[in-house]
């Protein structure tokens, strides 16, 4: 009997910024229903690793495999299965919070997402702000909306960059619980974090990155 391929495999990843290596020979695997936390100080390359995984950055060397196949953001399977929250998410300025989630869910094939949208808005504490346009939301509310955007769609791999950022204590507690539910549902979770308590509560394994000289 052969061992099933991990959902995500990163092998010998190397990334350069202006000829300088910021990631060198990074290797790890992530199975279904598992969570890995990328930890390390600012500038250690956590976001860069996540960007390489979602296809926003091109690695200089190494392999990134999703279900045994090289990851390519152009492939439909990747767009369908990888939900990500990085710092590059923007919003349509003329759609309300509820309309954003409604559109995202429908774009991923859910023809009746009303209940899901309401539940998620309630979960992230935005039910009262459901009719607000993104420009009138606070930075914390925008962050919550971005988080809900990643959770309103189907996913096998959830990639989050500092999901606890700009959340209050209750928000971080909810996030911790939610990520554990994601794991229980079989979703693989890869996240970068500066919050030791969140890492402790959610991650099965931590990958420590250090700034390269």
């Amino acid at each position: 009997m052969t061992k099933p391929a991990p959902r995500l495999a990163v092998e010998g990843l190397r990334h350069l910024y202006a000829e300088r290596a910021v990631i060198e020979d990074l290797t790890f695997t992530l199975g279904a229903g598992q969570a890995i936390a990328l930890v390390g100080p600012n500038g250690s390359g956590k976001t860069t690793v996540l960007r390489c995984i979602v296809g926003s950055a091109e690695p200089a060397a190494g392999k990134i495999l999703l279900d045994g196949l090289p990851i390519d953001e152009r492939a439909e399977v990747v767009r369908r299965d990888v939900a990500a929250l990085l710092d590059d998410l923007d919003f349509f300025p003329d759609l309300t919070a509820a309309e954003h989630l409604d559109l995202m869910a429908r774009a991923h094939g859910n023809p009746e997402p009303e209940d899901l949208v309401d539940t998620l808005l309630d979960d992230v504490g935005l039910l009262a702000a459901a009719d607000q346009l993104p420009g009138s939301l606070s930075s914390g509310q925008r962050r919550r909306l971005a988080l809900a955007t990643a959770l309103v769609r189907p996913r096998k791999l959830l990639v989050l960059d500092e999901p606890e950022a700009r959340l209050d204590t209750a928000g971080v507690a909810w996030l911790s619980e939610r990520l554990q539910e994601e794991k229980a549902a079989g979703t693989s979770v890869l996240f970068a974090s500066h919050d030791p308590e969140l890492v402790e509560a959610v991650a099965d394994e931590s990958v420590e990155l250090t700034p390269l000289p």
Partner: protein, 521 residues
């Protein structure tokens, strides 16, 4: 830090509140002290831009002189009638536009720093804001002079009439600027001013429609139009511009009286500047800063983003409307709802249909497709905000889970239907279906190309220029979109056969949807 204990606040330590003039003098002195470049060093960097502006100004002036000469040679009743009608379109249009533009930036504005540091002090606010106020009045006057100069000279008015028109337009727009300063002082006044702007816009369409539907339309001699040079074989003996002799003196007196009234109004309004709220002046300053940033990158789309972004921030809250269906259909349905969300854009868009008819009414038939294409472009571009958002955000494309090419198709379909409808309604003015197809294809491919423009990236290779390092392609930004529009119009402008009018725009259209766009950075 001293070891003498905490500093105790004592009002006696403070002298009289400084005058705004003293404060400005002190800031100027500090800034000069920190300057690391002389005036001539800065001039060396921008001399090419100044030189280019002088050249463009001189060429533009020559073109206007030439066109004035040619148009003045037109003796037909049509030309005379046209010149009589122009003020009734131009004046309400200019006033409406001026009201809207000035109210969107304040009109009196201040930077965030000035708002935070200076306007919060007891220093005389009116005096602090007076330089900006003078600038607003100056800009209004210059715009008035230029608009009248171009508007009247192009249609062959005598230079004395152009001068009188310029004087009256300067007065009109300066008074409009004063009115906007007064309106800025309260939200309800601003709302009323905007309603008046809408009313004036509607008023401008009435003479335009009359011009467009005039029975004598298309009856006068028209000649080939190549580029911007109009060459018309008109008889100059019968032409007598209206007003110039009969009403000239009276107009001059009226103009001088209006100028006097305007001067008084400017002075009186200046006394009310202290009634402006800090929030209202800083909001305009932030908008101007955003627009300046967009202008530096020569990104027309970004300029529009800044304005529409501000609009939606001011709206703040809307009744959420659930979508329909899923996948691509859901995106199309959302685009439809989005377009209905700002109905003024649709009204203005359809209102612009008057342009091809009005141009056809003037008899310059060769200009109709070009005018229709540009009017259609202006009408359709605001409907492309959805595509604009996804083209600028990798995160949004990723969240929607679709390929950018599929998204481009999905988000262009509803605006494409608008273009088809708009072009069909303009068909009687355009003349034939092949020309209408070329115009429609030009509008659609042009707006898609402009809406999906990526912001210029300073992270990649840069090119040395007198203005410092700039990304390659920066100077092509302003013409992005208009290039495809003109390409589709080539067979029309060069009077090629209807087959070419279908083939070339059809090819451009097919290419536009076949090519995979570059992912936003």
């Amino acid at each position: 830090m001293t070891s003498e204990g905490p500093v105790v606040f004592d009002p006696a330590d403070f002298g009289a509140i400084p005058a705004a003039k003293e404060l400005r003098r002190w800031m100027r002195k500090v800034r000069r002290g920190k300057a690391d470049r002389t005036f001539w060093q800065q001039f060396e960097d921008i001399y090419l831009v100044i030189f280019a502006l002088v050249m463009v100004g001189a060429t533009g002036g020559n073109v206007i002189l030439h066109l004035n000469e040619k148009s003045a040679a037109c003796t037909s009743a049509s030309c005379s009638w046209l010149l009589d009608t122009v003020p009734w379109i131009l004046m309400p249009l200019l006033t409406s536009w001026m009201l809207r533009v000035l109210l969107s930036v304040g009109p009196v504005s201040a930077s965030r720093a000035t708002g935070f540091w200076l306007l919060a002090t007891p220093v005389d606010r009116a005096a602090l804001l007076r330089p900006t106020y003078r600038l607003v009045i100056g800009v209004a006057a210059v715009v008035g002079a230029l608009a009248a100069l171009i508007g009247f000279a192009l249609f062959g008015a005598a230079w004395s009439l152009v001068g009188e028109a310029a004087l009256l337009t300067i007065v009109l727009l300066t008074c409009t600027a004063c009115a906007t300063v007064w309106a800025q002082q309260s939200a309800s006044r601003s709302r009323w001013a905007l309603r008046i702007a809408d009313g004036l816009l509607l008023a401008a369409t009435v003479p335009a429609v009359v011009l467009a539907t005039r029975p004598e339309a298309n009856t006068q001699n028209t000649t080939a139009f190549v580029g911007v040079a109009y060459i018309g074989p008109y008889d100059s003996t019968q032409f007598s511009p209206p007003f110039v002799t009969t009403y000239g003196f009276r107009l001059l007196v009226i103009g001088l009286v209006a100028l006097l009234v305007c001067g008084v109004l400017v002075v009186v309004t200046a006394q009310t500047l202290d009634k402006l709220s800090r929030q209202s002046v800083v909001a305009g300053g932030e908008l101007l800063a955003g627009m300046a940033g967009a202008a530096i990158t020569m990104d027309v789309g970004l300029l529009a983003d800044v304005v529409s972004g501000r609009h939606w921030r001011q709206v703040g809250r809307l009744h959420s409307r659930r979508g329909r269906s899923s996948h691509v259909q859901a995106i199309m349905h959302r685009e439809f709802l989005r377009i209905l969300r700002w109905p003024r854009r649709l009204i203005v868009g359809f209102g612009l249909l008057v342009v091809p008819y009005a141009v056809a009414g003037t008899g310059y038939d060769v200009l109709v497709p070009l005018a229709a294409a540009f009017a259609g472009f202006i009408a359709t571009r605001p409907l492309m905000d959805g595509l604009r958002s996804v083209s600028r955000s990798t995160g949004l494309v990723r969240a929607l889970g679709m390929d950018l090419r599929d998204l481009r198709v999905a988000m262009s379909l509803v605006p494409a239907l608008f273009v088809i409808l708009w072009t069909a309604l303009a068909l009687p003015a355009l003349g034939d279906a092949a020309t209408a197809f070329a115009v429609g294809a030009g509008i659609l491919t042009g707006v898609i190309r402009q809406a999906s423009a990526k912001p210029p990236s300073y992270a990649g290779p840069l090119v040395a220029s007198p203005m410092g390092a700039i990304p390659p392609g920066l100077f092509s930004q302003p013409i992005r979109g208009f290039d495809l529009l003109l390409l589709c119009l080539v067979p029309v402008l060069l009077s090629w056969s209807p087959t070419w009018r279908l083939v070339i725009p059809g090819f451009v259209l097919a290419l536009m949807f076949a090519i995979k766009p570059r992912q936003p950075a």
